[in-house]
Amino acid sequence: MIALPIAAGALGQGERGPYVPAEPLPARGRLTPVLRYLVAGKPYLFVGETNAILALDSVSDDLVAELGRDDATDDAALAAVAASHGRDAARSAFRELALERVVLPPGMSAVPRELGEPPRFPLKSVVLNLAQGCNLSCSYCFADEGLYHDKTYGMMDSATARSGIDMAFEEGEGHVHVTFFGGEPTMNWPVLVDAVRYGEALALEKSRTIDFSVTTNGALLTDERIAFLASHRVGVSVSLDGPPDLNDRHRAMKGGRGSSDIVLPRIRRLLELHQSRPIGVRVTLAAGNTDVERIFDYMLDLGFYEVGFAPVTSARADLQLPAAELLAILDGFRRLADRTMSAAREGRFLGFSNLVNTWQELHEGKIKSHGCGAGIGLLSVGSQGGLYLCHRFTGSEEHGFGSLEAGIDQAARADFLKAAHVAHKDPCQTCWLKHTCAGGCYHEAWERQGSALAPNAHYCDYMRDWMELALATYTELAEHHPAFIERHLATRVRKK
């Protein structure tokens, strides 16, 4: 029995960027959404329903080709393959493909939508917005220079931060993760210090574990502060866009002057003094800033362990990446992937985060029904104690889920998760990335499509190209360099 949504609630409708409708991929014969690709001349299949990666033999590969014809029927495909491989081989390959959900259920021309009720969603992570306000004024900031949707400038007080940590312990199970975010969280340093000490003491008292991370532009990091972060093993993610000529285009001080002169000496000290956890850098790619290879080399030279790239999220057309620039970025990613693979073949790790994190997801074969963990394992706490879908929606009442005082609005949270299920996103139904991308980032969709619940149509092509690259490289590793996977992917166990 199939249940189809007639109308999903259109939460978060607003006057945002122009709506781009997503194009569904054409259905292909009797196949569920799959991607067939070759690695070293051998055929593989990525199965969109299960996120399985299958190595195919010649029988199953021929069968996939037959079943993928527009006018295919199961019987005709079986007969065609039986003619060259024999009836028994064709039938057993068909059975395997059916069990792997590569073949549509008998009598159906589309995969039934699985609409799940999110049964339980314990919190794993809270984001504390210590400071709604920032010492920089980056042109592309989704937080509107830290002020966020409610446009209030505010510092979180210690009582609110402590109460956010209390909630993380109460609403979660086991390990608690706290992220300090802003604005610029180090502008509210005393509260950060108090929150770390309070969280550690609470974890000890409850026999649970806790860890912290902070996202910072680095401008306010003194040696003393760095020593505190290092001794409490606070993970640090630095926002920096590249060498000064690139970084200063968008990342400016309040007066408009580039920020590199101020931040670089402090970032160098951070990399020198903070050795207790690897330090990563987050690069925002905005219009005109596409030379990812040059940025990557610069960051590794500075001493960062991992470099992650994220395209800008902005409703402003002059900052958005035009299609040609997205392609240029993808080309750069390809060259970085080549270098990451060359290193991996020699057993070395190159910290191209985008690729390594994607490999990790492919390796785990995790099936996603939602674009990310926002609202499921993660909630954001605003500086005044409001609870929001994620840090990017801080202060947006239409994406609010209660407050620290009143508690989590579990009904609103459940409603949102139900409406945001990938089964409600029509164009995603025929895409082989339906359980990998699941429609993508809510905030990106809200900025560009006008609704947090819309699939991110403007990234479909980019996403599929990127995932083809990730699949081909992961497959080579899994088949020919399993030791690398064992060492670098299998051991990156995420704390629950």
């Binding site: 029995m1 199939i2 249940a3 189809l4 949504p5 007639i6 109308a7 999903a8 609630g9 593989y44 299949l45 299960t50 996120n51 399985a52 990666i53 299958l54 190595a55 195919l56 033999d57 199953s60 069968l63 081989a89 057993s92 390959a93 059975r95 395997e96 493909l97 059916a98 069990l99 792997e100 959900r101 549509l104 259920p105 008998p106 009598g107 159906m108 039934p112 699985e114 609409l115 799940g116 009720e117 999110p118 049964p119 339980r120 969603f121 492919l362 390796h363 785990e364 074969g365 995790k366 099936i367 029904s369 939602h370 499921i376 394992g377 139900k418 299920h421 992961y474 497959t475 088949e479």
Partner: protein, 114 residues
């Protein structure tokens, strides 16, 4: 069954926490069932003899027809499934005439005598 024509190279996926558990042994009061809410419509799947209850369309257990309440009409009209409800296609066409809304009018469902 040993697989001979396909070989999985990544880990079998664990569904995320947000996916439903196998609903077979879950009891949901009719009124609370989100799948019976106003936003959902039933369309057919088992117009011929196909799996539905014991196994799903892929011979697995993860996509069974569930919950059973939502099959009351689906299985009697376009998806005839003899074990559950009278066959509305040919033999008991008036079976649910008086029952416009299954949540409210279920008591008006007719009995099938023979």
């Amino acid at each position: 069954m040993t697989q001979r024509h396909t070989r999985r190279i990544n880990k079998p996926g664990e569904p995320g926490p947000e996916l439903p558990p196998n609903g077979a042994d879950e009891v949901i009061p009719l009124a609370d069932d989100p799948l019976l809410g106003g936003a959902l419509q039933l369309i057919g799947c088992t117009t011929v003899f196909e799996p539905g209850w014991e196994t799903d369309g892929w011979a697995g257990m993860t996509s069974l027809c569930r919950p059973m309440q939502r099959d009351v009409y689906g299985c009697s009209a376009d998806c005839w499934w003899p074990a559950q409800v009278p066959d509305e296609l040919s033999n008991y066409q008036g079976w649910s005439e008086q029952c416009g809304n299954v949540e409210k009018d279920w008591s008006k469902l007719n009995f099938v005598g023979e």
